[in-house]
Symmetry: C2
Subunit: 123 residues, 2 copies
């Protein structure tokens, strides 16, 4: 089935707790993940929250977005990689994030979004 977009949901467990509460590190890492995957970055917004220093961040790309939410107290991060077209390679962003957050356990779900009845051009 043809779809307008691909949505990768990444669950990262047993991560480095220090990195999960380092907003500068997380912003740099998500921007790198977007860039390495071949996306064109158009904006970003990152925030850190008390009491455990959890971080929420989004990178808007020409091809949709990447987001991260972290719970340092649980060693957990939820990442979403939402892309349209065939140029971006989400699997590269996934590998980079698993490695940089030092996740000892991870799982991935890939969904199609915007499933259409008629074929779609990815140009």
């Amino acid at each position: 089935m043809e779809a307008l977009a691909k949505h990768v949901l990444l669950e990262l467990n047993d991560c480095s707790r220090e990195r999960l509460s380092d907003i500068d590190f997380l912003r740099d890492t998500l921007l790198s993940a977007a860039r390495e995957a071949g996306a064109t970055i158009v904006g970003d917004s990152f925030h850190i929250f008390p009491p455990y220093g959890g971080v929420s961040g989004v990178v808007i790309i020409l091809e949709s977005h990447l987001s991260v939410h972290t719970w340092p107290e649980h060693g957990y991060a939820a990442v979403d990689i939402f892309t349209c077209g065939n140029r971006v390679r989400p699997e590269i962003a996934v590998d980079l994030l698993v490695r940089e957050l030092q996740a000892k356990d991870s799982s991935i779900v890939e969904l199609k979004r915007g499933i259409l009845n008629s074929p779609v051009s990815h140009e």
Copy 2:
């Protein structure tokens, strides 16, 4: 199963094409949806793209994020409502978005993110 967050994936079809390419309208609507659902807004980032005027936008909330991506040429919008805790009511945001984007057809998937082995406090 206890989880750290709730993730609602909303597919909106047969929407008003005019509204799907109106960045100011979409920003106001997503901010209203966040507010009406009981979320605390901490930032937002919206962008419009050629050639069809599709819009990508994210509202970062204290409780995670709301995002929208629109394809006016297909009458389609993908919305994500990612929340933690029990205070935010995503169903209120869903109702508002379906109504305001005049979606004639919609579907919802609700996922748990960050499923843990031990019970979680939502305070």
